[in-house]
Symmetry: C2
Subunit: 202 residues, 2 copies
């Protein structure tokens, strides 16, 4: 773990963030010490402070960057078309993105309470912007009559919670592939807003 003195500015910064991400996701922000992060990177604890003003900024950066990347990625591959196509695009994107970044997802949902007030507000604003992407699709679909959504906001929260939950149980070693899972969640999502439902048992 020990290493010789030397300059590694270009790689150490990202390595610190990667180590912090992994450790925060595994053990939780409050349970991880700066020494653990440093040890994982292969530097002494003091060296971390060349790259981050403090531990809080490390957490905030990870969460902010994750939310910004999420919004940018969705903006880049958002599907245009009728509400069904847009909903399918969002659902598959969300499941895939979350399966690909389990650690980022985990800390972004679990460590909100460890953010300082201002940092919390900033991350919450980003998260709300993302949720609005789905809410707009649901509202549009309800307006033109292809979806039946009893309450747009609750449906948004419900669907996002359902989809995000995939990262709590999915393992690549399991019986289902990522693409299987994407399809299954899309199937449940489309059913959950289906209009063809007025004749079900009360």
């Amino acid at each position: 773990m020990a290493r010789k003195t030397g300059s590694h500015a270009e790689i150490t910064g990202p390595r610190i963030r990667a180590a912090a991400l992994r450790l925060f996701a595994r053990h939780g922000y409050a349970a991880v010490s700066m020494r653990q992060i440093a040890s994982e990177v292969g530097v002494q604890a003091g060296a971390l402070y060349t790259y981050t003003p403090d531990k809080q900024a490390l957490l905030f950066d990870l969460m902010r960057v994750h939310m910004e990347n999420l919004l940018e990625s969705w903006a880049a591959e958002a599907v245009f078309g009728d509400p069904w196509e847009r909903l399918e695009g969002f659902t598959r994107f969300h499941v895939r993105y979350h399966l690909d970044r389990p650690d980022e997802v985990f800390i972004s949902y679990m460590e909100l309470r460890n953010l300082d007030t201002d940092n919390f507000r900033a991350v919450e604003a980003l998260r709300r912007r993302y949720e609005m992407q789905l809410q707009d699709i649901l509202a549009d679909g309800a307006k033109v009559g292809c979806f039946t959504v009893p309450d747009t906001k609750v449906a948004t929260m419900g669907i996002i919670a359902m989809l995000t939950g995939v990262s709590t149980w999915f393992r690549d070693t399991g019986r289902l592939s990522r693409s299987d899972v994407e399809g299954i969640y899309w199937d449940m999502t489309r059913r959950s807003v289906s209009s063809r439902f007025t004749d079900l048992p009360a």
Copy 2:
């Protein structure tokens, strides 16, 4: 906050657990100190160790008792009948129970990673038993043809995640009552397993 010396065995124990529950839910297990818990109860830190061998046992007890209560409560009011009735019973029970105990729910989902290996296994086993309650309903309903469930296990995880998520956003001061919310979630749940869906857009 200071208090006089005296005996309060019957009430101090529960008060310690209540304070720990509240603080763990608010700030996270690792971020809460024994001194904070003691201060909330109105005793000195040393006095806590009359009631718990250590901090870990405090967390484990809260989680174990919550899961046991959840299972008992469901056993007591589980609905018998056809799969639709059973599913509605489970859905409404789950939403109501989780709305009534936001702190217990929060720590039971967030603090799993702070449990020691054995404690983790014990809580996980209880959680699995609870999830099986829903999975059995879905499997029975699929078998007799009233539900269409592409994958029973994924549907179980998806529905539980969707329903449990209610506690992340619901506030009693909001525009919806608890009973509204229960109904909306039931509506989404029943749609999500509806059979009447083979003719939707691909």
